[in-house]
């Protein structure tokens, strides 16, 4: 699923490891989400949206292809 996690993370000056720690998931999971290999659960998607203070539908879009 297409998402803006990488863009928002880099804009916030966060590393994947720092975001992973904030979300209580592994760095590999953040990387997999950013590359579109893994679609997070609704609670994790909401937590990410809350972290970046953005609506979840602006963070994830199921009508667009995953970015690589």
């Amino acid at each position: 699923m297409w998402n803006r996690v990488r863009v928002l993370r880099t804009d916030a000056g966060l590393t994947q490891a720092q975001l992973a720690e904030a979300m209580d998931v592994s760095r590999n999971t953040i990387n997999s989400i950013e590359t579109g290999r893994y679609t997070p659960s609704l609670p994790l998607a909401l937590a990410l949206a809350r972290h970046f203070t953005t609506p979840v539908e602006e963070l994830f879009d199921d009508r667009r292809s995953p970015q690589r």
Binding site: D24, V25, S26, T29, S32, Y38, P40, S41
Partner: protein
């Protein structure tokens, strides 16, 4: 088992169980065949597996094999791997049960197929109510 996946307990649980299984499998193989080489080979495979699990701490694959599912993605990977394993087992068990039934002598394959089928039906019924 609900140990924190990052704890020492979680790290050593599966390797420890593998070592216990190595001893049990080795003894059983020796009691069944009296073949020391075969018994050591059976136990050795499991000892090597346990060793790899202990040494490969930095690999996510090894951590998952140790049962250290760190988050929801790890759980999803474990669930999909379990389903893949199930399909492989079914590919062996179902033909085996078919042959046993064709011969008119239900055996271990038939038992495994029957138990698996029963558990699957019960699980579907229970999970449908819970989800």
């Amino acid at each position: 088992m609900t140990a924190d996946p990052r704890s020492a307990e979680a790290r050593w649980l599966v390797p420890g169980l593998s070592l216990v299984l190595a001893v049990v499998a080795g003894v059983v193989a020796w009691l069944g065949t009296r073949d020391v080489v075969l018994a050591l080979l059976v136990a050795g495979v499991l000892v090597v597996y346990a060793g790899v699990l202990v040494i490969g701490s930095h690999s996510e694959t090894i951590r998952l094999l140790r049962g250290q599912t760190e988050d929801e993605r790890g759980s999803a990977i474990e669930a999909r791997a379990s389903v893949a394993s199930l399909y492989a087992v079914l590919a062996v068990v179902l033909p085996g049960a078919g042959v046993e039934l064709f011969r008119g002598s239900p055996g271990p394959f038939t038992l495994v197929a029957a138990v698996g089928g029963l558990v699957y039906m019960v699980a579907i019924a229970v999970l449908r109510r819970r989800m």
